[in-house]
Every structure is written in C-alpha cells, then in structure tokens.
Amino acid sequence: MRGATRAKWAAGAAAVALAATACGGGSDTGGGGADGIVSSSWGDPQNPLEPANTNEVQGGKVLDMIFRGLKRYDPKTGEAEDMLAEKIETTDATNFTITVKDGWTFSNGEKVTAKSFVDAWNYGANLRNNQRNAFFFGQIEGYDQVHPESGQPRADTMSGLKVVDDRTFTVKLTQKFSTWPETLGYAAFSPLPRAFFDNHDAWIAKPVGNGPYTVDSYTKGSQMALKRWDAYPGEDKAQNGGVTLKVYTDNNTAYTDLTAGNLDLVDDVPASQLRNVQADLGDRYINSPAGIIQTLAIPYYDKAWNTPNGAKLRTGISMAINRRQITDTIFQKTRTPAKDWTSPVLGADGGHKDTLCGDACSYNPAEAKRLVAEGGGIPGGTMRISYNADTGSHKEWVDAVCNSINRALGNDRACVGNPVGTFADYRNQITQLKMSGPFRAGWQMDYPLIQNFLQPLYYTNASSNDGKWTNAEFDNLIDQANAETDTQKAVGLFQRAEEVLRDDMGAIPLWYQNGSAGHSDRVSNVTLNPFSVPVYHEIKVN
C-alpha cells in the first residue's frame, strides 16, 4: 500500500517529499472486527525465542501467544488453572503423575503428547543447550546429572522424568514441594514439537507452538507478525485476527506513534510521559498491579552491615523512607508503597498481607532517627545506594530515597546514590560480593506463588539471594511450608517465615510495581496480566 509513495519523491525538494509521507503509518493494519490486526510496541528479545531461554518480558510476550503449557495463570486473578493438564496427582508432594489432555496439537499438526513435555524439559535442563532458565528444572531428580555445577553433563536426560504412555508421564522431585504443580504455568515448562529438535535453526527463525497464535513472519530487529490460529483447540481463542509486534528503538517513540494513531498498543508508557498520559489517553491508559517488587538489599557479607544490632539500623532506615511521597510524585502512582515482601497480585488467599510489615514500613522520621542511633548509626557515616545507571531511570528514585533518609536523620551526608555504569557491571559487582552498602534489587515473579517471592530471594544461599541474608528459623519455616500439602496451611507458614524476615529487616521493601499500558481507540478490552504482559488474545478490534 505504502510502497506506492516510495522513492520517486525522495530526491526532490525536502518540503514536497515531507508532505508525501503524510499518508504513511498504520495503514498496514488491515480491517476491523474479528479479523482486525492489533499493532503493538515491542523490543527485540535479546535471547533466542526458546521457552527455557527467555527470561525477559519482550520474548515472554511472544511465548505467551504461541505456547500453552500444562497450567495457565488466569490473566485477572493470577490463579494457576489446568490448561493442557487433565490431572496432576500426588500423594507425597514428591512424586507427581501428570495426564495430558487429549486433542491438543501443535500448529504444524503434530500431536502434543507426554513426550513433547519430557523432551522439552530435558532440553531446557541440559547444560549443553545454554538455557538461561535451566534452574527451573532444578527440583527434578537427575538435574545435577544433566546440569552439574562444573564439568560436562553426565547424562542426557533427567532420571526423574518418565513417559508412561502417550498422555501420561511421571515426575520425581528431589524434595517435597507441594505447590510445584502451580509453577507449571511458567513458559519454560511449555511442550516442544519435534521440529524444534530436528531443524532447530528453522524453528528459531519461525517458532512453532501450540498457542492461539502462529508466527506468520519474523524479521529480526524489526517486527513479528502473528496470525490467529483458527484450528486452535483451546477455550481461549484469539478475539482478533492477529498481532503485529513492532520493534521501537525507544519507548518514547512508541508513545508518540500511539498518540499519532500509528500504533494500537504501547505496554510501556515512558516515565517522562506519565504526567501527560491522562490528557493524551484518558481512559485508554491502563495502570494495574504486576508481580514486581522493588527492595533495597543489604550486603550481609560486609561486617559493618552485619552487626548484632543491625535489625534496628535497617528498620530505622526503612522508616526513614517516605514511600508514599516518592510513588506519588516520581512514579505518578505507577508504584504502590510496599507493605510486605510479596505482591498484591497474589491476593489475600495467595499470601499477600498488607499489614505484615506494619510500622516498620511506614514513614516515621522521629522513630527512624532513634532506631538508627540505637543500631549504631549509619556504617561509616555515609551509606551509598548502588544502582545501574544505563536502564530503568533508577537515579531519580534513589536520589529521592536518599533525600528522604537524610531529612529524617537530619544529616545531609547520611545517604548518597552510587551509580554503576552498565547493568552487566552492576550484576558483576553483586555476584562478586563487592557491594559496600544497600543496593537496588528488583524481583519479577516467575509464577504467582508466595514461595516465589521468598525462597529464591531470602533462603540461605538461594539463587537470587544477592545480599546473602541467612536465618535458620526462616529456612526451617520455608522447608515446612514446601512440605505442607494443604495450600492454606502452607501459605500461613510462608507468612510466618515472612514475619521472621520482617523482624530482622532482611531486605527493605520499597514498592510494588504496576504495569502501565496505553491503547488507541481502534481496540478495546485491553488488559494486562499479573506479569504486566498485555492479554493479547482478548483484545477486540472495533
């Protein structure tokens, strides 16, 4: 369509040609109604689009459209519901028997069987395949054989996975984990067709899955066109004709294209536009909770921060932070002050409790000053909050947190920001235990379980326990909770563990992050799921 206005104008006078492009933009989005195409902003995923290799939201968007796993998290409540799983049975929270529903196929016609899952999981876990999310299979027996701490894998498959028949397989875990089936909605647990293994390069260039969409075309670094798969066997069929994901170099340019009518959906409203967003979009702006919490981690490997009275010091610092003011002014209410160490998307039944942190997370300058003094004062007289300066505009809030602390303590040298140039370097300093003061720690949940907010972050030597906090009572309660087969009792035990974390102020919770999105008036029924990914298949084109 737009090809017609092509180059013939180009060499001419600038003004004439500038006018010629006025008809451009948005005209490739086709018709409306049930077959209408939704155009959406995208960032090029940095990793190949393999399910067990995607750990960021841009690749996650695609996987959410082209894959369905055993479980699926309800886009509204976040609850794990059976998708391809007919039943998942266990008697001892260690051995699971999984039955796959009949009638599911991949979009290339191949049947989804028990083997599709077992092969995919074995691939994801194997060290040879360099999968970023391999640790998700870490609880399955035999993982240490295919993914040893060092050296070459000693086996090709995990001994804990066994195919019984076409639709049944068994899983044996290394220890009790009663809520393990609830984790199976994560993309890493998706089934894979034979084409993935037989012709891997072709699959990467154009992935094939079993979700409501199929990949129509994929131009790396530019765009991906997804079409509705009409023969999709699931209940959650796509309500539109397809989705075109367009790569933008910058979220500001995507936002201007939205306001200019060239784009239907932006799922990352830039911080600089939050002030205008009400005027620009009105009720087409979405701001809903996501399973992300920001905290300040404390370097417990540094003796100055690991003193007997440290809990008072840390609680004092927590009480010196005026969370409400920062979330209202700097984040324009796209963050909510944290009141525990989980996320509101879990819901009360799932373990979120907005009274858990209580006074320790409320702004109280007088009390803060007293507690910090009793805790021995700020180590070294000045604390430096480290953050990476390249992405995510962390500078603003770190400076605001420091201002708040300085004002509360009446000492303008108590806290300063410490920017680290690049994210790679920042992570490097964290893993090499080089932090000399509190540092920014963000956590985006993998699955909506209270376990996911506590165990990976605060259990002794857990994979993302960057501050190296350790507490025997906490560990013990987590173990008990994982072994508990009654979900409500398990949640209660997790909350007791969280109270232990609070009493020692193991990490200072700051705020829960919301997902923000804006859409054009061409589309409706736009929502974000608890992972802050748009629920694409429910979007209707007017």
Binding site: R2, R6, G24, G25, T249, T253, A260, N428, S464, N465
Partner: protein, 310 residues
C-alpha cells in the same frame, strides 16, 4: 600517482591492525561480564555462564581472542556471533548498514547541495545582507543541539502540520528518512556553508583570480571553475570526514525517529557489552574512514593543479 596509491594502501594495513586492536582491548577491558548480564536481575547459573563463555571463546587470553577474531574476518569474512542471540554479526550489520547508508546518503546530499549553495551565495556577497543572513542562520543551527532540532521538526511537521509520520516505520521508506536526514545533516550543513563562504571570500582576492578576470574570461567560468574548484579543498576535507561520521550512525537522531541503523546498534552493544558486534561495526567504520581519506587526498590533486603526488 599509482605508486602513491599503492603506498597509501600498504600504510592502511598497520593503521587497520592498530585501531582494531585498540578497540578490541578497550571493549574487553570494560567492567562487567556480558554473559552474566544475560540473566537479568536473577542470579546467573555459574555452570551455564562457564559453558557460554567457553563456546564463545571468551575464556581464552585476550590476544588469542583478538587473533581468532581478526583471522575470522580476514579469512572467512566471519565477524563472530552475538553473545545474547547467537546471531552472526554479519547479519546484524547487514540489517543496519543499508538503513544507515540510506540515511547518510540523504543527509550528505542535503548538506552538500544546500551547504555549498548557501556558502557560494554568502561568499560572493561577503559583508552584504545575504551574507549576514546566512551567517546568522548557520550560527543558529550550530548552537541548537541535535535533539532539540529533532523534536522541533517532529513537533512542527508531524504533529502541528501533519505532513510527515512522526517516526520511521518498519518498512524504512526513503521518503520517511527525509526528516531525520535533515536533522542529521543540519549541523554539517552549517559548517559546509561557513567553510565555503570563507574560502570563496578569501580566494576572490587571489592572484589567479585577477589574472582570470584580466584575461577577459566570462564571469561564469571565472567563478564556476577558477574560484569554485580552488575553494573546495577545505570543504572536501570536511565532507570526507563527515561521511565517516554519518556512517557511524547518529545515536540521538536515530533514537528520536525510530531509525534502526548503526547508531542504535552501537549504543545497544555498549550497554549489553556485545564485544563482537561492537568491534565488527568499528572495523567496518575504520575501513570507511581509511578509504574516504585516501579518496579525499586524491581529490586534492584533481581540485588544485599545484598539488602533485609522485
């Protein structure tokens, strides 16, 4: 002339090796581990990190890495693979360079035509109204930062007048490239106009000009051949280096107009510590610079008959 060119081409070899080695060392001495950065906020699995580093040869001594990299480029035209995506760097460059080439060509044409045009007008009327107007106009362009100019053009032509689409679409049409090209070429346009003006105004008083006029040559020939040709030397020098700068991409302009060219790739590669991509890009740019500077030196001899290369 032939011997001169051969000598220059041979000189390129040590320059090429030296610059690429320097850049290689600089990139690899940046702090942080690119592989660990792939895991996001989550802790990296040490076994997977070790495996990826081994697969990419990042665990070898730095000079051996450099040797492998350069021999890959020279012998197989293989620039290595990206760390995160595993894509061949040649693919990445193949996507970005045509876009940048398009943008650079447009910007270059813009600054060449309008820059020299304005410079000639100002130079011939030095000290008069047109000259002063052009000097003020170019001063204005020089003093306004690129991103301000970009946003002004976007505001006025895209949002207020609605003549252009605010961003370059994924089709990267040539017509959509005009606005970013004007922004990109704007600054150089001012420099070209000023260089041309000064050089022309000065050469107007040269002896050979008086001779040409005294010989009774028509004014068009005096200005078009005798004056213009000799006045172009500083301008050509500037334009030559500017080609290199334009090819190196423009991070800010590309960002404002959503152009997926070399500038964005360079920026992203630095942030993500994609060493192979960065060195590959820079290697190509070094070649561009070397070739253009040779061409400019040869052009001098064409423009000024007094310059001879033995």
């Amino acid at each position: 002339m032939g011997r001169y060119v051969v000598r220059r081409l041979l000189q390129m070899i040590p320059v090429f090796i030296g610059t690429t080695l320097l850049i290689f060392l600089m990139v690899y001495s940046l702090p942080g581990d690119p592989v660990a950065g792939l895991f996001g906020d989550k802790a990296a699995n040490p076994a997977t990190v070790a495996k990826i580093r081994h697969d990419l040869g990042l665990d070898l001594p730095i000079l051996q890495q450099y040797w492998n990299y350069m021999s890959g480029i020279v012998l197989h035209f293989d620039f290595g693979n990206q760390i995160a995506s595993g894509r061949p760097v040649t693919d990445v460059l193949g996507d970005a360079f045509p876009v940048t080439l398009q943008l650079a060509a447009l910007a270059f044409a813009f600054e060449l035509i309008f820059g020299i045009g304005l410079g000639v007008i100002a130079g011939l009327r030095a000290g008069r109204l047109a000259d002063n107007a052009i000097l003020i106009f170019t001063l204005l362009i020089i003093s306004v930062p690129v991103f301000v100019l970009g946003f002004i053009i976007k505001m006025v032509f895209a949002f207020e007048l609605g003549w252009i689409a605010p961003n370059v679409s994924n089709d990267q049409l040539l017509s959509e490239m005009i606005a970013p090209a004007v922004v990109l070429g704007g600054l150089s346009l001012a420099y070209v106009a000023r260089l041309t003006r000064t050089s022309m105004a000065e050469n107007l008083r040269a002896d050979y000009m008086r001779t040409a006029v005294a010989k009774g040559l028509p004014r068009r020939r005096v200005i078009g051949v005798h004056l213009m040709r000799n006045s172009m030397i500083p301008v050509v020098t500037f334009l030559g280096t500017d080609i290199g700068a334009l090819m190196g991409g423009a991070v800010v302009t590309e960002g404002i107009f959503n152009v997926k060219g070399v500038g964005g790739i360079i920026y992203e590669s630095i942030i993500r510590r994609e060493g192979t991509t960065l060195v590959g890009l820079v290697t190509v740019l070094v070649l561009v610079y070397l070739v253009t500077s040779l061409l400019i030196d040869l052009l001098y001899a064409v423009l000024d008959p007094r310059i001879r290369y033995a």
